[in-house]
């Protein structure tokens, strides 16, 4: 029998067992080729260039993707080689040299890779179109994507997998050469030295693990808190949080889990339940071997969910951000652009409008900050603050009321509000020209009504109409903006027409301010702002979503593969249990508990990590936290559930077969 025939024969025989490794390979090739094809697709490149989005994100992401795929394939090959150790041992036992065995397995892998690359590229080629369509949809670009077979993409994918193949063969060769015949036969039993007693050291380490995580979480909540003084050492503190949570996660898996499980089982004093027998004790004893991979998976999950959430928050907030910058569909400032209203009338486009009178005062914001600001000199002294009369606010909030001498502070959210929360119920003094006015701040509100260009991100003061008149009459020369008209379309369907009209206003939208008109800007409609946000973020979102998907599928697969291996290892236990009278259902009950742990714990801790990470600084990225976070986490949970169900199916099969 020639070597190649032996290879094909053993492959055919092993196909059932290794089809998963094969699928993992195909999947990796698909992912890789699909992404690179997209990257080098001329229509995509063109569309991106037209929208002015940088293409650099793509190549950076492709490198991250290569890393993910490499780790994944290496891990999968290692896992599946372990299961073949007996076969390798047998080959050697019947007199094959180690060199020959290596050649045999290398040849096998070459064939496997060849098939996987071919199939994966076909799948990748077609799925790339789907991804391109998704990308275009995200960027709000209407464009037909033509699929072009990119030589560059082909070349890159082939190189990546050729390198991977070489690495895997080297790994195999090293493995075959290193281990003796004896240990080859017992490789699957390596985990058997797992039964050890539990020491004080372990208990302490387990406790430390939980403590580190708790400290990391706590620090993350005060990261941007002025009181903590953390802002001064932001970078250092971020590192501290990162190290603390990562170390805590590892210690948690390495020691805490065993510790907790051991407490549970010790309390039973020998009288265990089915779930203890099939979930608690095996998990406890396997934790030593599993802790590293579980830590890695948890951290990757946390990272992926965190990054995806943040970029989704940005994307999701693009509308809200635009709304804050332009609270009305169209905004006209200082008597300019009334031409637009005429045009709307001409075209018989229905609209509603609100008018605002604007003035400004000097206000010392530090008076309203709840903490002492010795270190934050930035906020010292009075700053110019935009003022509007109460009657203007009542246009959008009919319910608000102010007594004489009272005032609201509004439009105060986002970054400033997170770092420096303001307190209402305080007396302040504002200066308008030469006069000073005492005001009582009744409430800090979050309404937006003025263009971002007017307020420049600072809060807006709302005073009673009589006070406003007093202010206005005292500082005409200092105020750059005197009035604003906000226009909302009544019928969404008129949007395109109105956009066209607004675009053609050109000069009417350009406002020049300052002495000798030194500073000028062009007002943008809400729709223009939103589109600009989306194009800027669409690619980032797409790339992070793609990578997140890759992370998710690879980590999920690894958990699944591990469970398959564990199921095989525990086949004997199931046999024993069934012999002494456990029914399949009894055993499955324990297995559900075990799967809930195996998939649930990395998921829950990963999600917790990402929750605290996102929570600490999400407002730097957008205005909506809950919805994007819930959506991303929900997706992750669903995908993990799919993997958990798959592995339960596998266990079911093993348990059924075991007797």
């Amino acid at each position: 029998m020639t070597l190649s025939r032996l290879v094909f024969r053993s492959m055919r025989k092993n196909l059932k067992q290794y089809y998963l490794y094969f699928f993992a390979l195909i999947f990796s090739v698909t992912l890789c080729f699909s992404f690179t094809t997209l990257q080098y697709n001329p229509s995509v490149t063109e569309a991106l260039e037209r929208s002015g989005t940088a293409n650099a994100g793509f190549s950076a992401a492709s490198y991250i993707l290569y890393v993910i795929i490499t780790l994944f394939v290496l891990y999968a090959s290692q896992l599946f080689m372990k299961r073949r150790s007996k076969e390798i041992g047998l080959y050697q036992l019947i007199g094959m040299t180690k060199g020959l065995v290596v050649r045999l397995i290398a040849l096998e892998n070459v064939v496997l890779f060849l098939f996987a690359v071919c199939i994966g590229m076909v799948l990748g080629f077609f799925s790339s179109r789907l991804f391109a369509m998704i990308l275009m949809k995200m960027l709000d670009i209407d464009m037909v994507i033509h699929l072009v077979f990119s030589q560059e993409a082909f070349k890159q994918s082939v190189i990546i997998f050729a390198i991977l193949l070489v690495v895997i063969i080297l790994q195999l060769a090293w493995m075959v050469r290193r281990v003796s015949l004896l240990s080859l036969f017992s490789a699957t039993k390596q985990a058997d030295e797992r039964i050890k007693r539990f020491s004080v050291f372990q208990a302490v380490m387990g406790f430390l693990g939980l403590l580190f995580i708790a400290v990391g979480y706590y620090l993350s909540t005060i990261l941007f808190d002025i009181k903590s003084g953390f802002l001064n050492n932001l970078f250092l503190n971020m590192i501290l949080i990162l190290v603390s949570t990562m170390l805590g996660t590892f210690l948690f898996f390495r020691y805490s889990v065993s510790l907790i499980m051991n407490v549970i089982r010790s309390n039973k004093k020998g009288h265990l339940k089915v779930s203890d027998v099939l979930a608690v004790t095996p998990i406890m004893h396997r934790m030593k071997g599993n802790s590293k991979s579980l830590t890695l998976i948890t951290l990757l999950t946390g990272l992926a969910v965190g990054i995806m959430s943040l970029s989704y928050i940005s994307f999701y907030s693009s509308g809200t951000n635009a709304r804050q910058a332009s609270p009305y569909d169209y905004i006209l400032l200082n008597d300019k652009g009334t031409e637009f209203i005429n045009q709307l009338e001409q075209e018989e486009i229905e609209y509603e409008q609100d008018s605002y009178n604007i003035s400004s005062v000097m206000l010392n914001i530090a008076d309203l900050v709840s903490v002492q600001l010795e270190e934050l000199t930035l906020f010292d002294g009075a700053t110019q603050t935009t003022v509007i009369p109460l009657s203007n606010l009542q246009q959008i909030e009919p319910g608000v009321q102010l007594e004489e001498g009272e005032a609201y502070l509004t439009s105060y959210v986002n970054v400033l509000a997170e770092i420096m929360p303001l307190e209402a119920d305080k007396e302040i003094t504002v200066k308008a020209g030469e006069i000073e006015l005492p005001l009582y701040i009744k409430e800090i509100r979050e309404d937006f009504m003025l263009s971002e260009e007017v307020a420049l991100g600072s809060p807006i003061l709302v005073v009673t109409d009589s006070v406003f008149e007093e202010i206005q009459s005292n500082n005409i020369e200092e105020t750059q903006f005197t009035s604003q008209i906000g226009i909302n379309l009544i019928d969404e369907r008129d949007k395109n027409q109105a956009e066209e009209l607004y675009k053609n206003l050109a000069d009417e939208r350009t406002i020049a301010i300052g002495e000798n008109d030194t500073y000028s800007f062009t007002l943008e409609s809400y729709e223009e702002l939103r589109k600009r946000n989306i194009t800027a973020l669409g690619l980032t979102i797409f790339v992070t979503a793609f990578l997140g998907l890759a992370f998710l599928l690879t980590t999920g697969s690894i958990l699944y593969f591990k469970q398959m291996a564990e199921a095989e290892d525990e086949r004997e236990s199931y046999k024993i249990l069934r012999k002494i009278g456990f029914s399949t259902n009894d055993i499955l009950k324990g297995i559900y508990a075990k799967q809930a742990f195996n998939f649930g714990v990395p998921l829950v801790i990963g999600l917790l990590h990402s929750y605290f990470a996102v929570k600490s600084g999400w407002w730097l990225f957008g205005t909506e936290l809950v919805a994007p976070l819930v959506i991303i986490m929900g997706l992750y949970i669903v995908m993990y559930a799919v993997f958990a169900i798959l592995s339960i199916q596998y266990y079911k099969k093993v348990v059924k077969e075991s007797l």
Partner: protein
């Protein structure tokens, strides 16, 4: 057709010889009348097997491993099954203990037929009525000795106090009090097997099946274990059925069945004989029956 009576020791076993329809070979099929030294049949039968046949494989490759076996075990008996490799000992045990299904025939334990039971009922039945001791111990190495022994109670609930009392009695009998909190890989083979025996006995089963329990033990541990089993058999009148190829182990039994080629060849009773005498008788029987292929 011939009818011959063979006298083995002081017991008369009648063999009906008949011609096999398929081949010219003469097969021995036995219908035996036992007259064992005045002891006779002890009350209720714990285990009854009738016309048990087991065929493996499909038509063309079919292999008849058990060829219509009739067996009856009374309460309090300690029955040994001996036979050469491939004679169907383990298959018979697996069929009798409900782990495997017979192709034909009926198995009844404590008057309950196993054939109609579903997987769940069978599991419950095994849990409550049967105990198992295996050659390779079959202990879960993630559990301590105590947890392993109490394993059956993880499903069939028993008040903790009652379980503890039973555990205490059994570990006392088997002499494994010292190792209760150790893991299986920390104790010797003999201790593992005694743990396994304790687990088999903890639920007060109607019948204990032991498959080569001494197979992996050295002779000293083997003897200790067998003495324990004998003691439990006598003191608690637990019915035990043990498959073994070791004549010494078999000599602890009260009755030994000899299996050959899928059928019961003969059986011997210990009666009032000493263990040494019984051992001799087993050896003799083996040699009378040809003896080739016996491991002992």
């Amino acid at each position: 057709m011939n009818i011959t009576a063979v006298l083995i020791d002081d017991k008369i076993v009648t063999y009906h010889l008949f011609l096999s329809c398929k081949s010219e070979e003469v097969r021995i099929h036995q219908m035996y009348n036992e007259q064992s030294n005045g002891k006779g049949r002890k009350g209720l039968s714990v285990l009854v097997g009738r016309k048990i046949r087991k065929i493996y494989g499909k038509k063309s490759t079919a292999q008849e491993v058990l060829k219509g076996i009739d067996i009856e075990v009374s309460k309090g008996e300690f029955v040994g099954i001996m036979g050469p490799s491939g004679s169907g000992k383990t298959t018979l045990l697996n069929v009798l203990c409900s782990i495997d299904h017979p192709t034909e025939g009926v198995v009844e334990i404590n008057g309950q037929s196993l054939s109609g039971m579903k997987e769940k009922e069978l599991a419950k039945f095994r849990r409550e009525q049967l105990g198992f001791i295996f050659q390779d111990y079959n202990l879960l190495d993630t559990l301590t000795v105590k947890e392993n022994i109490l394993l059956p109670f993880s499903i069939s609930k028993l008040p903790k106090a009652a379980a503890e009392a039973r555990l205490k009695e059994l570990v006392g009998l088997l002499g494994i009090e010292e190792i209760l909190n150790k893991y299986p890989n920390e104790v010797s083979g003999g201790q593992k097997q005694r743990t396994s025996a304790a687990r088999a006995l903890i639920s007060n089963p109607a019948l204990v099946f032991a498959d080569e329990p001494t197979g992996a033990l050295d002779s000293k541990s083997a003897t200790a274990l067998l003495k324990n089993l004998e003691k439990i058999n006598q003191q608690k009148s637990t019915t035990i059925m043990m498959v073994t190829h070791d004549s010494v182990a078999a000599s602890f039994c009260s009755r030994v069945l000899f299996l050959n080629d899928g059928a019961i060849y003969t059986e011997v009773y210990r009666g009032d004989k000493t263990r040494q005498q019984f051992f001799q008788q087993i050896i003799n029987t083996q040699s009378v029956l040809g003896g080739d292929g016996y491991d002992a």
